[in-house]
Amino acid sequence: MALSGIGGRLYRGETSINFIAKRRRWFGISGLLIIISAVALGTQGLKLGIEFKGGSVLTVQAPTVSVAQGQAALKSAGVTTESIVQKIGTSKLRLQTTDLPQSTISAARTALASTFNVDPANIDIQTVGPSWGKEITHKALYGLFGFLIVVMLYLAMAFEPKMALSAIVAVIHDVFITVGIYALVGFDVTPATVIGFLTILGYSLYDTVVVFDKVRENTNGITSTARQTYSQAANLALNQTLVRSFNTSLIALLPVASILFVGAGLLGAGTLKDLSLALFIGLATGTYSSIFIATPLLATLREREPAMQALAKRVSTRGGVIETPVDKNTAGVVTSTHSKESHERGPRNQPKRKPRRR
């Protein structure tokens, strides 16, 4: 069984990872990553595809191709501006030019066809006008803000305002880090990247929604008892949904990875590769943020409420050990800080719920 190790112990409750208590560490790591991203974005910027700045991409497929031949053909067609010629696999050449008149592109097509001895109709051309990119950029930004606002409103209605806030902070965190990775590594940004990226926001929220659903269930009527603080209940919810989070992310990643490898391997640059690369990176940051950012942040926000502080006090006077963020001795993996036997912390050993609603 794939998860017989850590996963099995997790859901049997033999191991409980205390995510919430270590929140300052996670917030610190993320803060650092965001600073690195901002610096990378400021110094290196994003490598934009032709869709954003205008230009043409010609793709030739011939038994033997070489970059030098391609460059010579472009030169003979009168392409004097800077152009990028890449070899994809053994038989494909991708030539990217700046924004040129249609007649020059036609000349380049003819020149390439004769250089590589192929039918001109078999040369694929994508041309984008310079004003196209502005429209795409605007639309992407509108999409991003529209998405954040609509989802925040929806979550505030479906859950609690503080959950909506935490979820949105986690999403913005993902946006920053993903953009940072693109700036740092220098991956091409195309409309497909943007779409993949916006999709990830949906994924990241989806993941957070499932965790929050469990948090809400665990903290329902928590103030009427004195068994757990809000943070402890939230941490339990995180641990209980950890297997699901892991399985979901893995199962989402499997198809995305297959698109990425098939897309990049068989087709080279293009929609499939751009889309799945954005999804792949975003999925990883999304999973991280829903566990390490969203829920710890929610706990921080809720613990400030007087009712929750009173609860924490009651829990501590009752003799339970409270896991507070200042407790520096708490290890990442808690095995026996509780007075009870560690394996009794699993779902089965949690205080029995009151009779079910309805």
């Binding site: 007649s103 078999n122 999409g143 999709t199």
Partner: protein, 520 residues
């Protein structure tokens, strides 16, 4: 709790009915698809090869795009594209006024030329002609002088003031280099009330042209015909409407007796001279013929430009995508291969992790796959849905979303069993809790897909569409297949008793201490 248990005991019969109903609906829709004769998916141009062009209306001074004008332009471009005779060509307008032209098959530059050259068509009298390079510019002064004397002798109204060859025009004419490719782009919006200088579309000659006298919109009909009787070869016949007839009559009457080249009427499209035929006689009948050494293609193209050239608005080419059929089939195969590998990996993982329960997710994925495929077929017929590469990617990514719904449910189910409930009860109580999570989560996905759809540009739109569609399919599958199927399985001893490999065994659930609760 008693309410739940009584509910649970009622469920199985109902579950059987739900499954049967789903099967009936599936079969009915399959039959519908077959009856309609759509057993093949409509593929986008990126999967079968072709040319797509996106055009945006050029709006002067930040004004608004006139919807009616866009629709009219679409109709005109559609006629033009149809003249190519390629089946399944499409021309459509977007909400922002963009016009998308797609022509399947071999990518040819002809589509781009035909669609790209879209602006105002005008008839202007030729005032002077020169070769494209600077060498001939010196002779223009003499030409102008000749114009003056010639004009005086005819005493025509226009002749008393020779239309337009001013110092400024002379300088512009001298500086115009028609050997440069950049000057053959067209796209300039020329003022119909001013005399202008222009290059020829076909060769490097250049012209000074009088203010426009006839507008392209005044041409009512144009066609290319083969003149067999006089042996003139291919020629273009054209007819004018009422206003056009009188304007063209006036123009031809005036210029026909002038010396060359002032007796030529230039047909100016998009700021370039398409053709400048000599006017042999005054034409007051409203129908004219243009003959010359035309090939069939040239004559047809000229006729098309005369007929459809007068677009109500100027357009700029935003994006051109030319995909050869070879690349198209490569992309299709890559997409399908990626989908297949992704599906196999997900199935393997769910069988490995959930054992017996994994069969439920395999079944659900198969049902979801069939529903999705059927929707593609039927939507292709109903709303012209075409599957693009981005669409395939969306469908593959959604395997994850669909599988996640089962994971949420299975994990809940296992939690309930761990808490000591019997499987029959757990199936119901787990479902009540999982259901809400699945609904909320899928709703977030649907919001995302809808927003992506409205804000996506061009090809990637297909991604948002399939993502939304498959999320919706996921809801159908979870409610009408996964849940009833699990309910039915909970009656089967293999699962109910939590045998090894069922995915619900005591060992795999971690129920190790309280043996009383284990034996369900």
């Amino acid at each position: 709790m008693s309410a739940n248990i009584s509910k649970a005991t009622r469920k199985p019969a109902k579950s059987g009915r739900t499954l049967a109903a789903l099967l009936v609906v599936l079969v009915a829709f399959t039959a519908l698809a077959i009856l309609q004769g759509d057993t093949k998916l409509k593929l986008g141009l990126d999967l079968r090869g072709g040319t797509s062009v996106t055009l945006a209306p050029k709006v002067a001074n930040g004004g608004k795009v006139d919807k009616a004008a866009v629709e009219q332009a679409v109709a005109i471009i559609r006629q033009r594209v149809n003249s190519l005779g390629v089946a399944e060509s499409e021309v459509s307008s977007q909400s922002n006024g963009d016009i998308i032209v797609s022509v399947p098959g071999n990518s040819s530059s002809r589509v781009v030329d035909l669609v790209g050259a879209t602006a105002q068509l005008r008839f202007r009298q030729v005032l002077a002609v020169g070769a494209g390079n600077a060498a001939t510019s010196a002779s223009l002064a003499t030409t102008s002088a000749t114009t003056k004397t010639g004009s005086k002798s005819t005493a025509a109204p226009a002749a008393t003031f020779p239309a337009g060859v001013t110092m400024a025009l002379d300088t512009a004419f001298k500086n115009l280099d028609c050997t440069k490719a950049a000057n053959h782009q067209g796209g300039a919006i020329d003022d119909p009330n001013q005399a202008v200088v222009a290059c020829s579309l076909t060769d490097t000659s250049k012209y000074i042209l009088a203010p426009a006298e006839v507008e392209g919109s005044q041409v009512s009909k144009a066609s290319a015909v083969l003149d067999n009787t006089n042996g003139n070869g291919w020629m273009v016949l054209l007819n004018f409407n009422g206003a056009g007839t009188s304007a063209f009559g006036k123009m031809t009457t005036r210029v026909t007796s002038l010396a060359s080249p002032q007796n030529q009427a230039a047909i100016v499209l998009d700021g370039l001279v398409v053709s400048a035929p000599r006017i042999n006689e005054a034409i007051n009948s409203g129908s004219a013929q243009i003959s010359g050494s035309f090939t069939q293609t040239l004559a047809t193209d000229l006729a098309n430009k005369l007929k459809y050239g007068a677009l109500p608005l100027a357009l700029t080419v935003q994006e051109i995508n030319q995909v050869s059929p070879t690349l198209g089939s490569d992309q299709l195969h890559a997409g399908l291969l990626a989908g297949l590998i992704g599906l196999i990996l997900v199935i393997l993982y769910s069988l490995l992790y959930y054992r017996g329960l994994g069969l439920v997710s395999v079944g659900s994925l198969v049902v979801a796959g069939s529903i999705t495929f059927l929707s593609f077929l039927l939507l292709g017929k109903w709303i012209g849905f075409t599957l693009t590469l981005a669409g395939i990617a969306g469908a593959i990514v959604s395997i994850g979303i669909t599988a996640d719904s089962f994971i949420v449910y299975f994990e809940r189910l296992r939690d309930e069993v761990r808490e000591g409930r019997s499987l029959r009860t757990a199936v119901e109580t787990g479902w009540q809790r999982a259901r809400r999570t699945i609904l909320v989560a899928d709703f977030v996905s649907l919001i995302a897909a809808a927003l992506l759809y409205f804000f996506a540009v061009g090809g990637v739109r297909g991604f948002a569409f399939t993502l939304g569609l498959t999320t919706f399919v996921d809801l159908i599958v979870v409610f009408f297949f996964t849940k009833p199927f699990v309910t039915v399985l909970s009656r089967v001893a293999f699962f109910a008793e939590g045998r090894n490999l069922s995915g619900l065994s005591a060992k795999s659930l971690g129920v190790v201490t309280d043996s009383g609760k284990d034996s369900l």
